[in-house]
Amino acid sequence: MRFVEEFRDAELGRALAAEIRSLVQDGRTYKLMEVCGGHTHSIYRYGIDGLLPDGVELVHGPGCPVCVLPMGRVDDGIALAHEPNVIFTCFGDMLRIPGSHGSLLDAKARGADVRMVYSPLDALAIARRNPEREVVFFAIGFETTAPSTALTLMRAKAERIANFSCMCNHVTIVPPLRALLDSPALEIDGFIGPGHVSTVVGARPFRFVPEDYGKPLVISGFEPLDVLQSIHMLLTQLADGRREVENQYARVVPWEGNPRALAVIAEVFALRPHFEWRGLGFISQSGLALSDAYAELDAERRFSIPGIRVADPKACQCGEVLKGAIKPWECKVFGTSCTPERPIGTCMVSPEGACAAYYSYGRHAGQREATRENALTGAGEAYP
């Protein structure tokens, strides 16, 4: 695997880390937010935080689609799963997300027909095989996933599959970033931009970050050296007084994104006036619903959905974690009453959630030093 070694070269990593140290001004702190849960995972898997000088702090962002879903939407999904004759389909990550009265897995145990699918096309296949049943696909995800749901709905419409519908929870990446930047409490110096979302939306939509808020953003790959290089690029911009969108992941992310994927999103979805995010509250024009042309396939119009707003559990601080206001281990219930086996909050359930990443790799408070030894080797083994 000589290809891989280029991305893992420990010497190169240490050299990069040394350059990063040389860019840091004494006494200054740099808060960099990694927007995407995939980056959070890489950072703790490879101990990247352990390579950084003390002044550089990585803050986790809201880019985990399962994590940002508010509890009310989970409850709505569960209510739908209990409708007579419904086969409720969703991605595996959704099954264990706690609602007010249990999860979708609990609903399944109580008799609801809940099925995990890998792809929305699998849900459509279930609808074709069960014409006498109503098959609902519970769609979640950012722009990475929305085009797949859109193409599936286009196919359902073209094939006139009458027993298929979609409860749409797709969200868009720009509005929550704007909301975070507007929040006076959080002073972020720069952003590690999301990799896979950007394959769809491109780099262009992030220009508001430097233009309106004067902060740099670097779209980053997921390899440990990618993330280190992106941090280096951000600190170089800050040192040079530049504020731009740069694309470290240009080998995968085109500046203009994927025009075909953007076109199908525009065809099938319409922006909701506002959508609720866990921890961030209502954000205007941040969620997608089915457009009028696809109204017949909209589960929210086909079924009566309670639409009740539920406050998050008091003990749970997922909201603070998603805003980067606290670290996972600073949450009162982290690792005690909230664990991946018995999660209270979404951030502990999804593999991309910051709490799950911290918990899995044992990266708790004060562990920075300990991770330095094993950085980049992936030797930070997950707890069994």
């Binding site: 096309l121 074709r128 075909r260």
Partner: protein, 91 residues
């Protein structure tokens, strides 16, 4: 669910719906190529990044192999994705 897994396009199985067999870590699975906006036949032998049953972008071999290794090192999350992929029945 946000994982994107590299696979290599083996053969086109449905021209109209742009479905192709793709080899993903030894698993052959049907993947939808419609988001790539390219002639599916021209993609045979190419590496693509697959997310929830759809090819999201075309990538080169170097990137594909590096990404595969990164995913393998993730352990359980990746194994789970592969299990889901095997059970999936895109038609």
């Amino acid at each position: 669910m946000c994982l994107a897994i590299p696979g290599r396009v083996v053969e086109v199985v449905d021209d109209a719906d742009q479905l192709a067999k793709v080899d993903v870590a030894g698993v052959r699975r049907t993947v939808n190529l419609a988001l790539l906006d390219a002639d599916p036949h021209a993609l045979i032998g190419s590496w693509v990044l697959i997310h929830v049953g759809f090819a999201l972008s075309q990538i080169d071999e170097r990137e594909a192999l590096a990404t595969l290794q990164l995913l393998q090192e993730m352990g359980e999350d990746y194994e789970q994705q592969l299990r889901e992929l095997r059970e999936s029945a895109v038609e």
